[in-house]
């Protein structure tokens, strides 16, 4: 065997096999969740703040118009707090 053939057999084939397994292992998750969180990665997304859906305890709708959910005002930045009352809770790091 020439040197080129030796390199192809003993380096090329293992690299090919490793590549195939790498695609099989990491490919699907990259395809499904390209922006998945991993600890230690920087967080570049803007902050989000979710509150629960308001309870819509409207009975069976009469007539043809849809019953609208009661509007709840969005929380305004810098609104004066009448009772600044953070009492307890917990903290954690990971």
């Amino acid at each position: 065997m020439s040197i080129a053939q030796t390199a192809l057999v003993f380096a090329g084939i293992p690299i090919l096999v490793i590549g195939v397994f790498a695609v099989l292992v990491f490919g699907p998750s990259e395809l499904h969740q390209p922006n998945r969180y991993r600890p230690g990665k920087p967080w570049t997304y803007p902050p989000v703040w979710y509150i629960p859906r308001p309870v819509t305890d409207a009975g069976p709708a009469t007539g043809h118009h849809a019953v609208e959910a009661p509007a709840r005002p969005a929380i305004k930045a810098g609104a004066p707090a009448p009772t600044p009352n953070a009492v307890g809770g917990a903290s954690g790091e990971w």
Partner: protein, 142 residues
């Protein structure tokens, strides 16, 4: 730090591909649906108002989380804030005068422990859902 709370219904209604590849949202539609369900169900079950903040918290993070909570507490009764900062690897659970009797610090610490375990393995949505579940179980029915 943006001060406006978004209603989770608005975010879920964005469509199935929202936040998938454009990099604007850390959660895809399925994850948002899970978070929305956990928030809504735990709030409805307990009568408390659970709220979830995901994003950077300015130092000192605890004080920032408490400031966010106070903004929330002016709007909702029995508010509980779960603040997660994945970049800083911090999480804070804040309870107020109305919610603290139902959620003692020990229960909050247990929920935080469960969340930390999931976050450390990279499961952000799972940790959030687990934490809300544990908090709701600890608070019980009104």
């Amino acid at each position: 730090m943006s001060g406006d709370a978004k209603r989770s219904t608005e975010l879920v209604a964005d469509g199935p591909t929202a936040g998938r590849d454009d990099g604007s949202s850390p959660f895809n539609a399925r994850q948002l649906a899970r978070i929305d369900e956990a928030l809504t169900l735990s709030s409805r079950e307990t009568g408390l108002t659970f709220s979830l903040y995901v994003g950077e918290l300015a130092e000192p993070t605890r004080a920032t989380a408490e400031a966010l909570f106070e903004k929330l507490a002016t709007e909702a009764d029995g508010a509980v804030l779960v603040a997660v900062s994945p970049g800083q690897r911090r999480l804070h659970i804040v309870t107020g005068e109305a919610s603290a009797p139902r959620l003692p610090n020990r229960s909050c610490a247990l929920a935080a422990l469960g969340m930390r375990a999931a976050f450390a393995s990279g499961d952000l949505t799972g940790g959030i859902v687990t934490g809300l579940r544990m908090l709701a179980d600890a608070a019980g029915r009104p």
